[in-house]
Amino acid sequence: MSSIKNEMKLEFLSKSSNESFARIAVAAFASQLDPTIEEIADIKTAVSEAVTNSIIHGYSDTDGIVKVIARLTDDEIEIEISDTGIGIENIEEAKAPLFTTKSNLERSGMGFTIMENFMDNLKVESISGLGTKITMKKKIKSHERINSKYIEIK
């Protein structure tokens, strides 16, 4: 990752009403990179997945702190979402499409699949009993487009 141009941190209680707050805040921060509407939508969805996972799996609806860090370089956003909840025992199994431990809550097991598809890179770190950290990266391509347009005009 090239040098960091900007960074922000958010910490909030694991309330489901904060899910929209978190994705809107990250999207607003990301808008500094001049992303397309599609890129913003992808980022919002991926953030919503990770934050919701911390709230419903990590803390199982008890109170805990969800932490979100976002970093911008020239053409990329990196987002870290972490909790100090129950953690994931088997990460590979958890990432498999349609795998869920909460089918009783009408979860579809698509969260990680969506994060993987909507972002360029997904890293899952977790220790059972200690918590989970998700790191996602996405290149903002509109930046390339603007640069090449600029070169053409020159």
Binding site: S16, E19, S20, K44, S48, E106
Partner: protein
């Protein structure tokens, strides 16, 4: 969430008007089940025309209502599904069991 009930056609249209995340689906689920079980329509159509945002919670919501309707022999369809939403439904393999229709007015 708005509900339109076409009695003669045994059709119930549920229009979602909010962002479909975990927070919102909790309430929508209860209301949708109430309406479906009350009318027991032959067809339930979810209208996504006004949905700007949806994550995996939307998939869970639709599969859950499919099960509610299946109980008494009702069917589920979806209308006005944007490409963004369609991509998520496709990823989950949902379109194999719950079809997207062009317009519910046409098919009534």
């Amino acid at each position: 969430m708005n509900v339109k009930h076409f009695v003669e056609d045994k059709l119930l249209v549920i229009e979602i008007t909010e962002d479909l995340d975990h927070h919102a689906t909790e309430k929508i689920r209860r209301r949708a089940d109430y309406e479906i079980q009350r009318f027991m329509p032959k067809r339930v159509i979810f209208d996504f025309n006004r949905v700007v945002f949806m994550d995996s919670a939307g998939v869970g919501l639709i599969i859950g209502r499919y099960k509610t309707a299946c109980c008494y022999g009702g069917t589920l369809e979806m209308v006005n599904v944007s490409p963004k939403l369609k991509r998520i439904f496709e990823m989950a393999g949902l379109l194999k069991i719950i079809p997207i229709v062009d317009s519910y007015k046409e098919v009534v």
